[in-house]
Symmetry: C2
Subunit: 477 residues, 2 copies
């Protein structure tokens, strides 16, 4: 089959998808209506609804062996299915996740978070960009091949996780316990997001992350600020001093050892990165912010090559209407860190805890909780065949050679899949990084749907022309 023939065939599959636009939109809306928030047990029914939806969709498309994979630790199961009708072709594991972030704060949404709404060429809903929209794009392309051609260009195993937004606590077990079932040549991820909508790019790396929560306690009861004020500690004062001490005036994390062993890109890579057209002030202004970060690095370096320590939530004392003259007995803070290559998660967690202990004054009790699981940073090998297929597919679809970029976010999967299955992960998502992930008014560009489906059709075809042996040097078992 020549490139031209292939292009015609691709057109047929892509054309089928174009005809099915309304039906796709309808399916997507149903999927987004499932309130699949993994972090909060109150949304358990929404998680089950999302799984039921996917089982129906995958079964109708023609996938076999549909089942739930449970890590045995009481978490939300992943969904698995497969189509293995392409002997002699590579086998790709296709990854996505069906869980979403909490919709809070609800009052800042312009339309209901679980009701997909179109406005100005965008679709709005919680999870539409991360990751329900992008994974539905992948499933649409796969389903269209089966509908139009009766087969896929490669063997495909699909894994849709239910705990991506909570640090994938069950995934290590799910992968380890099902290593044979999940065996593949490489992992193609529908999660990960495009860097920009206007510049074709492929992600070749992601930061790791992890997190925990602390409580500072300074008294056994809340105290009257007149009767005790000035003579006892205030848990919020102590918490603000502690949190403020975690970064120095240059924006560097003060925990000793935090930056030890970091593998910074070489001069060539730094120069390439500096050459990427990027308007930092405009990028920040788009979300009503101004650039701010670690001294000595550009914004892209801060996002892609430098680690962070962030407070994601902090609270204590009276938050109701009016004023309450209370000295709070406790203050709470939730932290997450983003890690880069060279930072071992367990070492970082341990040194952060030690640093917090050293900053905690004698008058306060420091209590750790809520360890959310930790993930290493990840880099795709530069000569990986699936990366080549991805770049070729994007160039063919978008008419321009894509940039190699990285993302500041975390895909626990890449690290875990390499650990458990010995294979690499190429991110091939059609969400875009500005789409208010994890925030109110999350959206997906409507234009990404057509582009994404065409690109998925193209990459599957290109992978179908690769010999499985080309993947062997990159497989670690």
């Amino acid at each position: 089959m020549t490139d031209s023939e292939a292009a015609q065939r691709a057109d047929a599959v892509v054309g089928h998808c174009r005809q099915q636009r309304d039906a796709f939109r309808h399916r997507l809306k149903s999927y987004l209506a499932c309130r699949s928030v993994s972090t909060d047990p109150a949304y358990r029914d929404g998680m089950a609804a999302a799984r039921d939806f996917l089982k129906g969709l995958l079964g109708d498309a023609g996938f076999a062996n549909i089942r739930e994979l449970d890590g045995g630790v009481g978490g939300h199961p992943a969904l698995f299915c497969e189509w293995l009708g392409a002997p002699g072709k590579p086998t790709l594991l296709v990854y996505g996740h069906y869980d979403v972030q909490p919709p809070d704060p609800l009052e800042l949404w312009d339309s209901p978070p679980f009701e997909m709404t179109e406005r100005n060429g965008r679709l709005y809903a919680r999870g539409i960009s991360d990751d329900k929209g992008p994974s539905m794009i992948a499933l649409e392309a796969l389903g269209a091949f089966l509908a139009v051609e009766g087969q896929l260009p490669v063997n495909v195993k699909i894994l849709l996780e239910g705990e991506e937004e909570t640090g994938s606590p069950s995934l290590p077990n799910i992968l380890a316990q099902n290593a044979a079932l999940l065996a593949a040549d490489a992992n193609l991820s529908a999660d990960g997001a495009r860097w920009r909508a206007d510049l074709p790019s492929v992600n070749v790396g992601s930061r790791g992350n992890g997190g925990f929560e602390i409580t500072l306690r300074t008294a056994s009861t809340d105290l009257h600020s007149g009767r005790y004020g000035g003579a006892v500690p205030n848990a919020l004062h102590e918490m603000t001093k502690l949190v403020a001490a975690l970064h120095d005036a240059d924006g560097r994390v003060t925990a000793p050892g935090f930056y030890d062993g970091i593998e910074m890109p070489d001069e060539k890579t730094r120069a390439d990165l500096a050459a990427i057209p990027f308007d930092g002030p405009a990028w920040a202004a788009a979300v009503g912010a101004r650039e701010k970060g670690e001294a000595g690095y550009s914004t892209l370096e801060r996002l892609w090559d430098r680690p962070t320590l962030e407070v994601n939530g902090l609270w204590g004392g009276y938050q109701g209407t009016g004023s309450k003259t209370v000295i709070p007995r406790e203050a709470h803070a939730k932290f997450t860190a983003r890690l880069v290559p060279g930072q071992d998660p367990q070492r970082i967690l341990s040194l952060l805890k030690e640093h917090l202990r050293s900053l905690c004054p004698a008058e306060a009790e420091l209590i750790f909780s809520g360890d959310r699981g930790w993930t290493r940073a990840y880099r795709v090998p530069p000569r990986h065949p699936l990366l080549a297929a991805a770049e070729a597919a994007l160039e063919e679809t978008l008419g321009r050679k894509p940039l190699r970029v990285r993302i500041g976010a975390t895909l626990p999967l890449s690290d875990l899949v390499q650990e458990a299955l010995g294979i690499d992960t190429v991110m091939f998502s059609f969400s875009t990084a500005d789409e208010c992930f994890h925030a109110p008014n999350e959206f997906l560009r409507l234009s990404a749907v057509d582009e994404g489906i065409a690109a998925w059709v193209a990459i599957l075809r290109k992978a179908g022309r690769q010999a499985p042996e080309t993947y062997a040097p990159f497989r670690r078992r």
Copy 2:
């Protein structure tokens, strides 16, 4: 009437109260069941219920001219009534407040906050110590005089405020608009609290206070900590840095001018204060805390003679179950200050705002709100006749000369009454400073009820033997 005769008469009134203990307890329970939280509009019905209860009680006791006094600014009205059947005797204004603090956090109460519960010689309920119990003690003594003797030893006007816990926003208008109605020789307050249960004392001063709220905004939306982390400001980081910078390592407020003009006590007063038996570590340990405060001052000086700036509530970002990798766009903090003689409230408010503006980084927007009204600190003139009557009444009732102490809390009334009516205020409360005011499990010692009623009977009798002319030098109009 000799002292001995008076003591017999007092005994008859006190004896009547002892016989009425169960009925008093029943009335108190009904009053505490009124959810009169003034700061939160959701409790409006509870405020009205508390007023209805008091109107019935005061009418049954024999008080005349019962009415609501409204400052005309839409706040909660105060209740007024009077008994003026003692010509040639001094006229006392008797003050209390019927509003209470919010009951939050509800989960830390061992019994329902609006259901008075007895445990181990203590009565528990929101407001029982501040100020419903102490004001009911005063009303019980007044009512008993009228029931047993058909008259009071002095003329009495009663003012029960409904906004003490929110900084008395309507009180200036209520006092100014009703200055003739409220005219008296001195003000006797049922609010203010005893310093300790085991040491007779009389309060001769209180700190002022005031407060406001700030919001720091760093973006127009919450942001994903992977996609933006390290390159944009985090509203909580900025807030913790700002709040941490408000106190130096010695526990001093860093706002320039904050300590200017403070009238510190003379050496004699400092020495007297140092001689007061006070076990600081035990005092703090009783609430699970350790002493901490401004360097160079004792705990009692920190509480009585030094000003404070406290954060009463602070919040931002995700506070739900689990983890959310968000960079919050906003953080909020509620502040109050306690003021001492020499600190002008408007000057302090203004310099605190200026200081916060100077600390706010360019990447954040600082928004002020929730100004709660400000009150100066107050001192009772050392030779005031009502202070003398109070000391004599306490010595007679408790068998020991009381110490002159101050309190760290604020009675807006003292300042406002002096401003509007030109008279001084003596605090004569029988709550105690350790009774978890403004906090869960607020309580009142049962023993305070009998002591308090007897002392109120005694002070009314002693004031009845004072000529109104002795008050003249202390009246400012």
